[in-house]
């Protein structure tokens, strides 16, 4: 994989959908090669923030910059050559094979009529090998398990050879072994290839374990930003999630570990 990194800069970004859903004046600098986790309850704007970062929606106020270039000035193709998005999951409407799905990651590079080159095919094969799905490349995507599908979806993004990788709760629907596998893969991409990673995360413990920097959102606004130990605290979780938890130390790593208290213990 190509090793080049890009930073992302959100400057005073506000955004609202017609039904009033809102991002409020978020400013965020993400340096090239950083690995950032977005935290917050459902509806706090994690997904919207990722959509702004990928440029599929443009902010009502403020601007998003990709390495100094205003995102709204870039074409979809220009963005897709540098920024890849991994959605939670998708279903293919037709019987596409794994290899054919992964090839779609080359869309921003392929010319209309001639199709993919030998180089494109090599990149797709490498992406499939990286996620461990090369052996299954001739299987139908829709026949795979959820974990396998998620790896293929990751391979689509890797085939784009992205400088920035955006993930929307990539482990939400997976069993724990697949959750760890996907996150280890993403971390390896970040460490070894310098890919900038921003991921919306559901699980506070996995987020604390895998990300060096966490950003917590509350009702569309920035609430906390820093290393896990500063962000994942009992006060913050109570304030943002309205949940009483006990934050201790991870038994095997220098990161916070969140446990939910049983009903009787919460009042103390």
């Amino acid at each position: 994989m190509r090793s080049r990194s890009s930073g992302l800069f959100l400057k005073g970004v506000s955004f609202s959908y017609t039904n009033g859903f809102v991002i409020r004046d978020v400013s965020l600098t993400i340096s090239p090669g950083e690995m950032v986790g977005l935290l917050g309850p459902n509806g706090c704007g994690k997904t919207t923030l990722l959509r702004l970062a990928s440029g599929v929606v443009s902010p009502g106020l403020g601007d998003v910059y990709l390495d100094g270039a205003r995102m709204r000035k870039l074409s979809r193709k220009q963005i897709a050559r540098r920024v890849a998005v991994v959605p939670q999951y998708f279903r293919m409407p037709f019987d596409f094979k794994v290899g054919e799905v992964a090839l779609l990651g080359r869309t921003p590079f392929v010319r209309g009529l001639t199709g993919e080159t030998e180089g494109d095919r090599t990149i797709v094969e490498d992406a499939l090998r990286l996620v461990g799905m090369y052996e299954l490349r001739r299987r139908y995507f829709n026949d795979l398990s959820g974990g396998e599908q998620q790896k293929v979806i990751l391979a689509v993004a890797l085939a784009q050879e992205p400088e920035v990788l955006l993930l929307d709760e990539p482990t939400a629907h997976l069993d724990i072994n697949h959750q760890v596998e996907i996150l280890e893969l993403v971390r390896a991409l970040n460490r070894e290839h310098g890919v900038t990673v921003i991921a919306a995360m559901h699980d506070l413990n996995l987020a604390s374990l895998f990300f060096d920097r966490l950003v917590m959102l509350k009702e569309g606004a920035l609430f906390a930003d820093g290393p896990p130990r500063e962000v994942v605290t009992e006060e913050n979780v109570l304030d943002v999630f309205s949940a009483s938890v006990k934050v201790g130390s991870h038994p095997a790593a220098q990161v916070p570990h969140v446990v939910v208290l049983p009903r009787g213990a919460r009042d103390n």
């Binding site: 599929v56 998005v85 998708f90 293919m92 409407p93 019987d95 054919e100 779609l104 869309t107 209309g112």
Partner: protein, 348 residues
């Protein structure tokens, strides 16, 4: 496991099947004419060929003034409808988006009917007007159905079928009303009814010349959208993520599908289910990659309609069944089968 075949071989094979079907359809009818004679008399039209005339002059008239017109019309309409079907299905991620089912054909028919009411003396110009009317009608109908059927950025099969049904019903009602109140249409009642049922009784070469270039260009241009149609399988947002300018491509693909439907409708009226049956069969045989699916469906659609029309006009000879009736008899049960089979994926 199904093997994906070599694209060039598939296209060549289907092209041969189409030529064979056309030859057979020319040969069969009230008067049977040997296929070899048809080949010879056709080649005689081209330079460098001078076969001795072993056939009667009337045979030549039957071929060139009657049957070939009909066969060519069938091939054009079939390829246009099958291509439009693939375009709509790929864009809407929905294997049941046939121009007939989503109301595009009804829109085209209403547009064409309105154009027929405009008194124009010159046949050719009048026919161009009918195509233009059909195109406008098709585009308006498809936009209407698309916007009605859209739920949260997706086009679920149920809402699409309902929207298509409602829009079709409304358009056909308006058309019936027009037929009853308009004197201009009353005098052309027979051709208007043939139009509603879908028939390949095309009057002459001039009608074909008016739409053939549009259909051929449309089918070729569709191929340019193949890779992006594959990307639309990721969903509209997913397609945007891999670099597709979704709003622009969507408009272009809907317009192209509408143009092809309009050309088909202005030639043959409403022929249903071709755009459903043919792409589905091709997808089963060749896989969903639009780079092969588009040319294969165009050729197979052409062959399908030529053969369907041949059966429709010979089975109850001398009575000819409109080909639209025949395709509906074949296509509707197939549609029901598809709906039942995919029920699980498109949970209500």
């Amino acid at each position: 496991m199904r093997r994906r075949r070599r694209p060039s071989m598939v296209v060549a094979g289907l092209g041969l099947a189409l030529l064979g079907g056309m030859l057979l359809a020319c040969a069969l009818g009230a008067v049977s004419i040997p296929p070899l004679d048809i080949v010879r008399m056709t080649l005689n039209k081209a330079p460098f060929f001078h076969f001795d005339q072993t056939w009667q002059a009337t045979d030549e008239t039957i071929i060139f003034q009657i049957r070939l017109i009909r066969v060519v019309a069938g091939a054009l309409v079939g390829s246009a409808l099958a291509t439009a079907g693939v375009l709509f299905q790929g864009l809407l991620r929905n294997p049941m988006a046939d121009p007939y089912i989503i109301g595009t054909s009804a829109g085209a028919a209403l547009g064409a009917t309105l154009a027929m009411m405009v008194p124009v003396g010159i046949a050719f110009a009048g026919f161009g007007l009918v195509t233009l009317g059909a195109f406008c009608g098709a585009l308006i109908a498809v936009m209407l159905v698309y916007n009605l059927a859209r739920v949260g950025g997706r086009t679920p099969v149920v809402s699409m079928l309902l929207a298509g049904f409602v829009v079709s019903a409304m358009l056909v009602a308006v058309m019936s009303l027009l037929i009853i109140v308009s004197d201009a249409l009353q005098v052309r009642l027979h051709s208007v009814f043939a139009f509603l049922m879908g028939s390949l009784s095309v009057s002459g070469w001039s009608q074909i010349a008016a739409v053939a270039p549009l259909i051929i260009i449309g089918v070729v241009v569709a191929r340019f959208f193949a890779f992006h149609l594959n990307a639309f399988a990721l969903g509209e947002e997913g397609a945007a993520h891999v670099g597709v300018n979704v709003e622009r491509e969507k408009l272009l693909i809907l317009a192209l599908g509408s143009l092809l439907t309009a050309c088909a409708v202005s030639l043959s009226g409403i022929v249903g289910f071709v755009g459903l049956v043919v792409p589905h069969a091709m997808r089963l045989a060749l896989g969903p990659d639009h780079r092969l699916l588009l040319p294969a469906s165009a050729l197979a659609g052409a062959a399908f309609l030529v053969i369907a029309d041949m059966i429709a006009r010979t089975v109850f000879a001398p009575t000819e069944i409109p080909v639209g009736v025949f395709t509906a008899l074949v296509g509707a049960p197939f549609f029901i089968y598809l709906l039942r089979r995919t029920r699980r994926e498109y949970a209500f």
